[in-house]
Amino acid sequence: MATTVPNVSRRAARETTVDAKPRTKTGRVKQKLTSRWATTAAIVIAVVWTLPTFGLLISSFRPESEVNSSGWWTIFANPAFTLENYGSVLFSQGASSASLGSYFVNSLVIAIPGTLIPLALALMAAYAFAWIPFRGSGPLFVTVFALQIVPLQMALIPLLQIFTNMGINGSFIGVWIAHAIFGLPLATFLLHNFISEIPGDVIEAARVDGASHTQIFTRIIIPLSLPAIASIGIFQFLWVWNDLLVALVFSGGTVDVAPLTQRLAELSGSRGSDWHLLTAGAFVSLIVPLLVFFGLQRYFVRGLLAGSTKG
């Protein structure tokens, strides 16, 4: 969001350079590919893609009466800003208040182990599939890969039953395990892609020197795969943070366990026209993904590409 303003000027700068010096080598290539229409289309797409979020952000800082009576674009004509929406959405107490502060903590408590557990287990399994030869390794790996696409929906009803029998339904532990299960197939697959690319000589040499699999795993595999772990970890984290379905089924829906997304979906239904609360609330839930996105974009993109170009 913060980049919107400098971006406009950069875009303008780009247009002028494209037109001004088309005769340099890259310029020529560029001009062929991106005609004036293409540039216009790109700008239109960029604006259309940005405006909705921008409008939400602006609105979340407008006073209650204004948000619900005039469009956010009028802010430029008569500016009025407040932090009150955030105050009431985060901290106000009482049964009918949003109290997103507590839900924010819940989201954190869910998302961190919900990332760590599947990642650790997937890393171990990925190493075994890549570097410990055993009978049935190939078919088993393909099965894990295929599980990735079994819809969550297929598992929800019986899993809820199992959790209820174990007494962990509606607790953090239940939600952690559910996220671990659903995150495992993809994480295993992606990490396997990465780990199997590590040069065999390195691992062979270690084996010859008498290193056990545990030693290879902790001393070679983990350090070498840190970038991949970071990328996939970010993905899993965002997935868990943004999830609604798993939370709805396993969290029990109370302020004790339910994450932000669940509370927001609830508010969107019950207080659907209180836009001063909804805009601020939505932004509270967006802030962590946005920080992750802007802070760790490199890993984010890399993880995404690892998953798709090898696919």
């Binding site: 780009r14 290539v29 560029k30 590919l33 991106t34 540039t39 289309a41 797409i45 893609w49 405006l51 909705p52 979020t53 409008g55 609105s59 948000v67 469009g71 674009w73 107490q93 507590s102 903590v105 819940n106 408590v109 650790a120 287990l121 171990m124 399994a125 075994a128 599939f129 894990v144 295929a146 819809p151 929906q153 598992a155 929800l156 953090f172 395990i177 299960i181 659903f182 197939p185 699999h213 545990t214 943070w241 943004n242 609604l244 379905l245 089924v249 997304t261 927001l264 659907g272 909804l278 805009t279 939505a282 839930s285 946005l290 996105f293 590409l305 798709s308 170009t309 090898k310 696919g311």
Partner: protein
């Protein structure tokens, strides 16, 4: 400090404590098991270690995913209380007009979202390729990928917000209609168009994914080939279709299949924006409603099974592609 604030802080402290304990216990257990496996007697050590490495993931998947999925497959043919009723749930599905609408909506989603997201993402990737500020232009379109479907749902409900004619509009889209002299519309209520307005949200999210993957693929097309085609007198359009597109074919397949699967399972958007009302429900949303809100696990399971059957061809195709790539390697 008043009592309420004190309670809140205490609550937060407790939860963070739980988080710390959970993480610590998990790491300790994994570390201990790895340590013990390392100390196993030399004979058979490899076998023990293999088990330690793959067993946790496989056991979790078997108990938490494979077994439940099989059970759901069975439940689809029961009334949800254990009595086998054959195909009755499926008969119900294909005779109820609301469920038929749901199925039809899902088809519309699956046709429109992957094609439009991929097309727009590809076009955008080509347009901004090698331009100044490419990185920033990319993040703008890519950003929706990072946020939740619930957040996206709220963002777009705000864009679609409706006020009766004569009142000042607060939703951008209706304001644009008013500016052009048209009547404001209840975008999320008027069927069948409302489904299209929900689909827009999914396209908004998925285009960034398509764009980033395809952009990387485009950069992988050897520039010599592009240059050679240019010297042969091919125009930008011809180069795009005859050089770029064949060069990024495998990435295109991945993008389309990934988005298709995500779209089949779409749930949060519909639930946040319309709750599946006004004839906008899709299979995943209906499944949740039947199984967890209406107390009809049999019908819910049947819908989940339909979802699985819809995804299945894509899974098979993907596995095939992966096998082929492994052979090449």
């Amino acid at each position: 400090m008043d009592l309420a604030t004190y309670r809140l802080l205490q609550d937060i402290g407790e939860k963070l404590g739980l988080l710390g304990i959970g993480v610590a216990v998990f790491l300790a257990v994994v570390g201990l098991i790895l340590f013990l496996a390392d100390k196993a007697p030399k004979r058979g050590r490899d076998k023990v270690q293999l088990a330690v490495f793959v067993a946790p993931a496989l056991i979790l998947l078997a108990i938490g995913l494979v077994w439940p999925a099989l059970q759901t497959g069975w439940t689809a043919f029961t009334d949800g209380r254990g009595t086998f009723i054959g195909l009755q749930n499926f008969v119900w599905m294909f005779t109820q007009s609301t469920i038929l609408t749901t199925l039809l909506n899902t088809v519309v989603w699956v046709v429109l979202v992957p094609t439009l997201s991929t097309a727009i993402g590809l076009a955008y990737a080509v347009f901004i390729d090698k331009s100044h500020g490419e990185k920033i232009l990319k993040s703008l379109v890519f950003l929706p990928m990072a946020i939740s479907f619930v957040g996206a749902g709220i963002i777009w409900r705000f864009v679609y917000e409706y006020r009766s004619p004569g009142y000042e509009q607060i939703g951008l889209l209706n304001q644009i209609l008013v500016w052009t002299g048209a009547e404001p519309q209840q975008f999320l209520i008027n069927s069948p168009w409302n489904t299209l307005f929900l689909i827009v949200v999914m396209i908004w999210i998925q285009t960034g994914f398509a764009m980033v993957v395809l952009s990387a693929a485009i950069k992988g097309v050897p520039p010599e080939i592009v240059e050679a085609a240019r010297l042969d007198g091919a125009g930008a359009w011809k180069i795009f279709w005859n050089v770029t597109v064949p060069g990024i074919r495998s990435s295109l397949v991945v993008v389309v299949t990934t988005i298709t699967i995500a779209t089949l399972k779409v749930f949060d958007i519909v639930r946040t924006m319309t709750g599946g009302q006004y004839e906008t429900s899709v299979v995943a949303n209906e499944m949740y409603s039947q199984a967890f809100r209406l107390g009809e696990p049999g019908q819910g399971a049947a819908l989940a099974l339909v979802l699985f059957v819809m995804v299945l061809p894509i899974v098979i195709y993907n596995v095939r592609v992966m096998r082929k790539q492994k052979e090449v390697r």
